[in-house]
């Protein structure tokens, strides 16, 4: 079974952009496949040396607590913090969104939050697996709705100043429970962006929708 390309491929091939995919755990293969289809050169990132020459980074879905521990032991935590400071374009889905957030609620106390985008997220905010769902979403800037797969997804509970909310999902109303959006808002942001960072609470890589990855490539090329 494919584990995707080995790390250490050439930084560029015929002008194509090399994009890292954090490959410590999670649905790495699907992200690699999407980047391949878009003509980028995916690079698996498991150690700090693997980031050499990448111009963008995708943080996949998976278990954020596990990835957090593996980031620490591989010393990738400091390396990713450096890349965030440098303003490298990044895309995080689900667990990747949690890692890129500035605040993690219901996480482990020592969980890594890289602070690449100023949002607060609650892990498993939509509930357990039995509540995992698929739906169609309108996304700002996209002509057609996006089919979104939410798996034990994180819930964005706060969005900082300057963060663009590109899409929201309707939340099921439950009597006697305060809407998590506050002030009667039964919606929650599920795609957010700030500068070079794009995060989604769902998995475009599972439905094979290329558009958020395309957006990342456009940010890399400076559009």
């Amino acid at each position: 079974m494919g584990h995707g390309p080995r790390s250490g491929t050439a930084a560029t091939t015929g002008g194509a952009v090399t994009v890292g995919v954090l490959a410590l755990q999670g649905d790495v293969r699907e992200h690699v496949a999407l980047l391949d289809r878009l003509g980028a050169v995916p690079r698996l990132v498991r150690t700090p040396a693997d980031t050499d020459g990448i111009r963008g980074l995708v943080l996949p879905g998976g278990e954020s607590t596990t990835m957090s521990l593996l980031l620490e032991s591989s010393r990738l935590d400091a390396e990713l913090a450096r890349l965030v400071t440098e303003g490298m374009p990044m895309l995080g889905t689900c667990a990747g969104m949690i890692l890129l957030a500035s605040e993690v609620l219901d996480g482990r106390p020592d969980q890594i939050a890289l602070g690449a985008i100023d949002i607060s997220v609650r892990r498993n905010g939509f509930g357990r697996q039995v509540e995992s769902f698929e739906t169609d979403l309108d996304v700002k800037g996209f002509d057609d709705p996006m089919h979104a797969v939410f798996i034990r997804a994180p819930l964005v509970e706060r969005v900082g100043e300057g963060v663009d909310v590109l899409s929201e999902v309707e939340l099921p109303r439950a009597p006697g429970i305060e809407p998590p959006g506050g002030e009667g808002r039964w919606r929650s942001p599920v795609v957010c962006s700030r500068d070079n960072v794009i995060v989604a609470a769902f998995h475009p890589e599972l439905s094979g929708d290329l558009r958020l990855h395309e957006l990342l490539l456009r940010r890399i090329e400076g559009d």
Partner: protein
């Protein structure tokens, strides 16, 4: 923005959680304290059960679904997904586990089978199922019944990885052969495997199972994890191997590192140092009960 339908319990959502566990370690735990140790060590999920397989073997008797109170205590203790086991064919136990909102149900040969002919109709549930398989035919039959993840059926509770290796090599070896089979041969494969031809066609086209393939049974060391990952497993289950060893927390952490970095022997070497005594292993030929023979 329009209000759109949301659908739950789809095949994509069920298989999706398995995709998220790839590259990770799922650990057997028997209480909340073990569950915390597992989560702290980096487990991607825990399997809640009353006794680890080594103890089930030792005690004998009928092994059943765990006490719901125990499962709830473990759900309360951790934030990672919690799985639990139902007996083969025991759909009422599975209904109870669904009511408890466990994240995955393992229809498991480690428990005493409740039905000698039928597995659970897994399409009838919103919760995803994982099932064991010793070969490709068994894997495809379980998938046709609705399993959203397949794992090997290595002899649980033995600390001996040999059976899991046999199953992985059998499943992956046959997949490799099917990808080069012509259309007439694919019908013959379906017949030989006793599996739906549609699934055989899908395997031939994609080169892998329609659902993730994990390894379970007999893993005890970081090198065991690296071995099965290199053979093509996409994640590993570790049962008795952790909490029957001298230093469970360290061993658990080491297996997590080895699973993530399975292609890097220097990291596997580093994390394998000074882990203390692993669980005592057993020769498969000396076993009184072979669990892999359960399931049809």
């Amino acid at each position: 923005m329009s209000v759109t339908e949301r659908t739950t319990g789809t095949a994509r959502v069920k298989r999706g959680l398995a995709e998220m566990l790839r590259g990770g370690v799922i650990m057997d735990v028997v209480n909340a304290e073990h569950a915390k140790i597992a989560e702290d060590a980096g487990a991607v999920a825990v399997m809640a059960l009353e006794r680890v397989p080594a103890d089930i073997r030792r005690d004998g008797g009928v092994a059943r679904m765990s006490d719901p109170a125990l499962i709830e205590a473990i759900q309360a203790a951790v934030t990672v997904p919690v799985m639990a086991k139902a007996r083969i064919g025991h759909f009422a136990e599975a209904q109870v586990l669904e009511a408890l909102q466990v994240d995955y149900i393992d229809e498991s040969e480690v428990l005493t089978p409740a039905d000698e002919e039928h597995h659970i109709d897994k399409w009838a549930f919103r919760i995803p199922f994982v099932c064991g398989a010793t070969n490709l035919g068994e894997a495809l039959r379980r998938i046709s019944e609705g399993a959203a993840m397949i794992r090997s059926k290595g002899e649980a509770g033995t600390g001996n990885v040999v059976e899991a290796v046999r199953h992985l090599r059998s499943v992956i070896g046959d997949i490799r052969k099917i990808t080069t089979a012509d259309s007439a041969e694919r019908y013959a494969w379906a017949k030989r495997l006793q599996a739906p031809v549609e699934l055989v066609e899908e395997v031939a086209a994609t080169g892998h199972l329609p659902v993730p393939l994990f390894c379970a049974g007999g893993l005890a060391t970081p090198a065991d994890a690296a071995l099965v990952m290199q053979l093509g497993a996409e994640a590993v289950f570790v049962g008795s191997g952790i909490f029957k060893s001298e230093d469970p927390a360290r061993r658990a952490r080491a297996i997590v590192e080895a699973t993530a970095h399975f292609e890097d022997p220097s990291i596997v070497a580093k994390v394998s140092k000074g882990l203390g005594v692993p669980m005592a292993g057993q020769e498969i030929s000396a076993l009184e009960v072979k669990l892999a023979d359960r399931g049809w």
